[in-house]
């Protein structure tokens, strides 16, 4: 059995989780403090990928990054880099699709954060950066952790947008999700089932890890 799809899926999910972690927290932190109108508007825009069919996301991504489209053509011309049909092209898809998960859970956590803690930090002579990393993040850890793991799990299972922007090339862009589809389509049911079991195993392990972490966290401070 060729393990390339597993490795590829894991690295795509890991990179996109890393990107989404910072993007989501950054957006959540600033939007949680924004005026109501701005907040409502941005919320709709940023949550949209969660409810759109992944194929629509893939279509929109191709519209921007395709080799004959503005961003894609520009990259190709100046750097000779093609943005689609690479293994890492899938990261664009997973980032967009998983961003709302990270953003929404982090924002929920930030909104329930007791703002007097930050005020206390300021009156004690601490900077906002210190307060953010030493107080806000640790206190909101549970929500942020949950968002991160969910994003990772979702990135691992992304199919629609990934297949459109990265395609399926065995040994190059094949991920678990696209491999399962390809194997089933070509009648290799036994092999497909094997990948299904691998995927089930990883997803179950990830979710189990969240539950264990949450149980350990629960009641730690409150």
């Amino acid at each position: 059995m060729d393990w390339y799809p597993l490795v590829n899926s894991l690295r795509i999910a890991a990179i996109s989780t890393g990107v989404v972690f910072f993007l989501g927290i950054f957006a959540a932190y600033y939007i949680a403090k924004a005026p109501r109108l701005v907040k409502g508007l941005l919320d709709v825009v940023l949550t949209l990928p969660l409810v759109l069919p992944p194929t629509v996301v893939g279509y929109l991504l191709l519209l921007a990054l395709g080799p004959r489209r503005p961003a894609g053509a520009w990259m190709l011309e100046h750097f000779g880099v093609r943005l689609t049909m690479q293994w890492w092209s899938a990261v664009f898809a997973t980032v967009v699709v998983t961003f709302p998960l990270m953003y929404r859970t982090a924002r929920g956590a930030f909104e329930s954060f007791d703002e007097t803690l930050a005020q206390a930090g300021r009156t004690l002579g601490r900077s906002n950066t210190w307060i953010f990393w030493r107080v806000r993040m640790p206190v909101c850890r549970q929500g942020i952790l949950a968002g991160t793991v969910l994003s990772f799990a979702r990135a691992l299972g992304e199919y629609g947008a990934t297949s459109m922007i990265a395609g399926y090339t065995p040994g190059r862009t094949a991920a678990i999700s696209t491999t399962v589809y390809q194997l089933w389509r070509t009648g290799q049911d036994a092999l497909a089932l094997r990948w299904v079991l691998v995927n089930l195993g990883i997803s179950a392990a990830v979710l189990l890890a969240v539950n264990l972490l949450e149980r350990k966290e629960a009641g730690k401070w409150r």
Partner: protein, 353 residues
């Protein structure tokens, strides 16, 4: 004067307009009902909230000046703020909470200073514990240690005891006063509890509806409140509209349809009259300032008997006249009975709005 504050802020239905000052070693009380703006004023001093106009000066340094566009961020103000629920960082131990305000020191000095504060506030043995594992008293002491570690020039206390049981309250009040005495700088204590203020503070600044009265000594507030707000917050239960009669020294309460003789003269700006419930006495018919009432309700209080009276001839919507009697001098008071009461002229407080 170490801290002088004169600030204002406009909200949609509320205007804050306060002025007060506190000297070294002084504990100034900001006394007011909830919603009077006292906490908002305190937050403005700390820099957590920004006033629309005014000036805040501490030890000769300007912290805020709307005209000169000075607005120091809270972390540069060196103002200690004791939050109502202490706002201890829940993810840090007692030690780490204290060390959090020692960021300007190197590691060794930080450790030494933390140990010093732990000892000073009797927190030995709790160093490695998280705030939620501490008792209410230990939490307050940790918060105070953390404030002292930041070397504040003034300490602000935002209703420090209001979240506590009455039994714990008394003990924490003593501890708080000990710490403030040792601190030695100015302190501002926000409260709605007259007893707390009476025991701990020297001068009082009463706030009502966002506006502050000039600060007065606590005894003066209790004996001669100048405004209706001061009278009410100092525990005066009867505050009614009054107007002067042509004869000097005589005032009329239209709602009660009663005329009373007063000890002090009526002055420009007076519009109300206050009488403490415990100064309303049962009297003989025809005595000075005596008038007949009907007993509307009798209530058993902890150590006294409180009665709501309706003066005869009072308007339908008139507020009751409250009378308080000692248990010792308890007499047969039944609801619906007729009773003559009087108030001696010295006990009538003439008040401004």
């Amino acid at each position: 004067m170490a801290l002088t504050v004169r600030i204002g802020k406009q909200y949609r239905n509320f205007t804050l307009d306060v002025e007060f000052s506190a000297g070294n070693g002084e504990i100034l009380a900001l006394l007011g009902a909830s919603g009077s703006g006292k906490s908002t004023a305190l937050q403005c001093v700390a820099g957590i909230r920004r006033p629309d106009w005014g000036r805040i000066e501490l030890d000769g340094e300007v912290l805020f000046d709307s005209e000169r566009h000075i607005d120091l961020p809270p972390r540069k103000r060196r103002v200690g703020y004791l939050f109502q629920q202490y706002a201890l960082f829940p993810n840090m131990t007692v030690e780490q909470n204290i060390a959090a305000s020692l960021g300007h020191l190197d590691r060794a000095r930080r450790r030494a200073r933390t140990a010093e504060l732990v000892a000073m506030l009797r927190l030995e043995g709790t160093e490695k514990q998280l705030p939620r594992q501490l008792s209410g008293g230990q939490q307050q002491r940790t918060a105070l240690a953390r404030i002292l570690a930041s070397e504040p020039r003034v300490i602000l206390l935002d209703e420090p005891l209001s979240a506590l049981d009455s039994s714990l309250r008394w003990q924490l009040e003593q501890e708080l006063r000990d710490v403030l005495e040792r601190f030695g700088g100015p302190a501002v204590w926000v409260s709605h509890d007259l007893g707390e203020v009476c025991r701990s503070c020297g001068r009082v600044c009463v706030l009502e509806g966002g506006k502050s009265d000039p600060a007065v000594g606590i005894r003066e507030l209790i004996e001669r409140p100048g405004t209706a707000g001061a009278a009410r917050i100092s525990g005066c239960r009867n505050v009614v509209r009054a107007c002067p009669e042509t004869e000097p020294g005589l005032v009329r309460v239209p709602e009660w349809n009663v005329k009373l003789r007063t000890a002090g003269p009526w002055r420009e700006g007076f519009s109300l009259l206050g009488v403490r419930a415990e100064r309303v006495r049962p009297a003989e018919e025809g005595a000075e300032n005596a008038f007949p009432c009907r007993v509307r309700r009798v209530m058993d209080d902890v150590s006294a008997l409180a009665a709501a009276l309706v003066p005869e001839g009072a308007a339908e919507t008139a507020p009751s006249l409250w009378m308080e009697l000692d248990r010792a001098e308890e007499r047969a008071l039944t609801e619906g009975m007729r009773l003559w009461v009087s108030v001696s002229p010295e006990d009538i407080l003439l008040l401004k709005e």
